[in-house]
Symmetry: C2
Subunit: 255 residues, 2 copies
């Protein structure tokens, strides 16, 4: 496919690289900021523009990879002559693109994409399309850059987006809280890294509920009390500890 | 070392295998339940007993790998003639072993050990000893089965145990909650696995606070409101979502 990428952030950068690696052609990068547009265009061997009205009309696919709140404004200005347009957002309806083309859809990468990471992770895609033909096209295109592609409508995509926030943003916040606690208490957070990796890795073979461990599921009140005592001087952590302990007790029976 | 293992659960099983793999000799397994003792002894090419008074007096090291609440009772009965005794618990003082020998300490594996997992993960150890000599011995022994060994007293070990609960038990509970949500809402949890792996893996190179993403850190109220609406019918999840969102806002500034 010949592609125009709208946006210059993490998602635009990483998807651009993936498209290129899958032997698609990035013909142009649009960025509001001329310098950023030029930089990403260089990286992707593309031309660039910082005027939405000058996007190349000859592309097969326009990929809008800007912040959620900017998608509607971009769609309103973009002129693509009913070519295929997709956005890349989990929590935004595909129909914000209806003003911009008759052929539109979604190409949502279900990953935490940060361009400063060296190793690029696997990227599953949730795809949607305005017509059967568009959905087929977008699904096939996604299949050229990922081996995990599923069709999902706005509601299904938003639900998986919510679940993704829980398992990635909230999980990462637990890591950040634990790290801050370790720093304050002068114990070594890096000792926890093998444990963190093991808990994530085993999900590929085991149900999370089947491998739950710890004082809460054992109802080990002696240990829970020792932990709560340590948390006397960490009131926000204590609230979180109590909520999780109660939630685990609730899931596996209060007995 | 010639080792007697006290206990037949997950920790006893996995540590026994590790000791054997590091070319130590397991001379005996004790289990309250005769059948379990025999089973693990077979696996480790050891003899077995189900009477604590009949533990082999010729071992160099006695490893008590029973549940936290049973350690004191085992220590009271065990006769080891001042040989070296360790327990394997994160949240139990080493001094519960003082009744049992003049030479005692702790060998705490900082991992989620479940014997049904095929691939055994890296196991960091926190070690402690009652005397300088015992500490040196235990540290050296731990170094033969792991390349991540740190000395930690009761308080430091309890603090890391608490941090471990947060990053593993609580994280796994988030996975379990997200999986239950996906099942109820009929979306595919397995699409989240690459994301989960990526978030855990990148910790080896990045500070968790430096790679936080998601609607909360962006203060993306539009997305947060959409998520809260989805959670109207999931009140406990909604409580957790709100707590995390507030906690993330608090860590990175409320602006």
């Amino acid at each position: 496919m010949r592609i125009v990428i709208i946006g210059t952030g993490n998602v635009a950068t990483i998807l651009g690289k993936r498209f290129l690696a899958a032997e698609h052609e990035i013909i142009q990068v649009y960025g509001r900021d001329r310098l950023h547009a030029e930089e990403l265009a260089d990286m992707l061997s593309a031309s660039f523009t910082h005027d939405l009205k000058h996007t190349d009309p000859s592309a097969d696919l326009y990929v809008i990879a800007v912040s959620d709140s900017a998608i509607a404004a971009v769609a309103a200005e973009l002129q693509v002559n009913n070519k295929l347009v997709v956005h890349t957002a989990g929590a935004v309806s595909k129909d914000v693109l209806s003003s911009c083309s008759k052929n539109y859809g979604v190409l949502y990468p279900l990953q935490s994409l940060r361009s400063e990471l060296n190793e690029l992770p696997d990227i599953p895609f949730l795809v949607d399309g305005n017509t059967e033909d568009d959905l087929t096209l977008i699904t096939e295109f996604a299949g050229t850059v990922s081996n995990q592609v599923q069709q999902a409508n706005d509601e299904q995509r938003l639900k998986l987006h919510l679940a993704a926030v829980m398992v990635s943003n909230f999980t990462n916040h637990l890591y950040a809280l634990a790290k801050a606690y370790c720093l304050q208490e002068q114990v070594d957070f890096t000792m926890l890294l093998p444990l963190i990796t093991a808990v994530a890795d085993r999900l590929h073979e085991h149900e999370p509920a089947a491998v739950q461990t710890g004082p809460a599921i054992r109802n080990d009140q002696a240990t829970i009390q020792k932990h709560l005592e340590l948390l006397q001087t960490h009131p926000s952590l204590k609230v979180m500890y109590t909520l999780f302990t109660d939630s685990i007790r609730k899931m596996y029976g209060e007995s």
